[in-house]
Symmetry: C2
Subunit: 281 residues, 2 copies
């Protein structure tokens, strides 16, 4: 596996691969890789002849009060994980390589970005869509892999690819969890021991919602309220949002009729964590 | 030359061309082609092994009160012109083919789109950038050709391509004029005989500005005022804008120091025409 830092170098390699007729799988990440990323890379490796993983902490998708500067980084660990998972290239551009001049161009997806994390993190999805467009234009992958933990991101990227006729297949992969149920996330590393235990409330509250749904509850407001009281029973937890939305349009629904996404964002101390599941009966 | 109407068909042809190692030149148009377009196609033909011309009257770049429905169309004439100029494919998608569902995704270029036509036609450049992105993703050209008559469009597309790492070279081509100096435009067809004569005021006023610049005038306000009084001497003409901007940033300048774009938009009757020239001493 090679680590490549410049756009011109990776373009040259991709050009050679395409000449050979190799299919290219791509896993865009912000680095500090965990089992969730590993599952994406392994899936990419099983479906493509060549695999590129990018690790780029993209400044344009962080808000002014967010964790850009303290976002965890560990290139050596990432390199080992990528190699073991079957990647051929790790693309690790600098911010200057990706943004040599102040960018004036942005890709925006409307409607789908209005609720959930989009509402709480203004500008976030503009940053995500713009950098993913740039990376797609650089890597020109046949398939790109995204985790279902960022459910809204996955829906937004799918919409962008469809609307802009990007010639890439988007593949969503299931959430990977710790043994005790906490969804894997690079941000889990921020948690103290005590917070780590408290963070279990996210998955527990979703399991609770799942039980209500299994019992036949159709009223989303009731389910949301029940999730909320579950979460606030944990003293270290502060709710950012609890929402139940149509799994395609991401619009709020009053009654469970079509498939829905139950999505939550919760601060554990200062760390904002997200989790979700999709329900279809 | 073949006329292709679906995205899947043209993708298939492009894929075959790329396998053969052919370079692809692309000329995006709204059809009703004239000598200006012809010069773009001929240039593309001289620099690439294969040439695609798209003719698509893109609804998303027209404002509510603009001329979408009456925009002139003549497929047969366009086909003849494309063939003679050396095109291999004319891509003529329907609006449903380009927009099978209501698009939620848009590409926006800031700053450069604030003045000139961007100020007068809100949403226009969002429509242009989004459809050009779609077409680039479908055609994947090595080079794309745009006329300098739409000077702001050319600057905006160059910025978009740079910011989003699109792997295409943008080539600007000079304005083509009628013998009497009127810049060629599909919209000239709207003009009555009387308006056609009146429309000469655009080019004449720019020639007048050029003389002032040759005489050493550096004060942009003086030049603008002089162009304006020149234009209003024509009773059928109504000024939309007269601006002198930095040719790169498209920001207004007070004094002629660096290269500038002198750009005008003038209604002749109900028809809005544009013209421009770049000055560097």
């Amino acid at each position: 596996m090679r680590v490549i830092c410049t756009i011109s170098e990776i373009r040259e390699i991709i050009r050679e691969w395409k000449k050979e007729g190799f299919s290219v799988g791509f896993v865009p990440t912000m680095g500090y890789l965990h089992e969730g990323h590993k599952s994406l890379i392994e899936k990419a490796s099983s479906e493509n002849q060549r695999v590129v993983v990018s690790t780029f902490v993209n400044p344009t998708q962080f808000g002014a009060n967010e964790d850009l500067n303290k976002y965890p980084r560990d290139l050596e660990r990432d390199t080992n994980l990528c190699e073991k998972a079957g990647a051929h290239i790790m693309f690790v551009p600098s911010a200057d390589e990706m943004y040599p001049t102040t960018p004036l161009t942005f890709v925006n997806v409307n409607i789908l970005t209005e609720g959930l994390c989009g509402e709480k993190r203004p500008g976030h999805f503009q940053g995500v869509c713009s950098v993913v467009t740039k990376l797609f234009n650089i890597i020109t992958p046949n398939r790109a892999y995204f985790g279902e933990k960022d459910a809204q991101q996955l829906a937004v990227i799918r919409q962008m690819v469809k609307d802009l006729n990007m010639d890439v297949k988007i593949i969503g992969c299931p959430i990977i969890r710790e043994n005790d149920g906490l969804a894997k996330s690079s941000r889990n590393t921020y948690l103290s021991d005590e917070e780590r235990k408290a963070a279990l409330i996210l998955n527990k509250s979703l399991k609770h919602a799942n039980e209500l749904l299994l019992e036949g509850e159709k009223n989303t407001e009731k389910i949301i309220e029940s999730i909320k009281s579950f979460i606030i029973s944990e003293p270290l937890a502060k709710i950012d949002y609890v929402q139940i939305v149509d799994s395609e349009t991401l619009k709020s629904v009053d009654k469970i009729e079509k498939p829905v996404l139950i999505a939550i964002a919760v601060f554990i101390g200062k760390t904002r964590l997200i989790d979700n599941f999709t329900w279809s009966n």
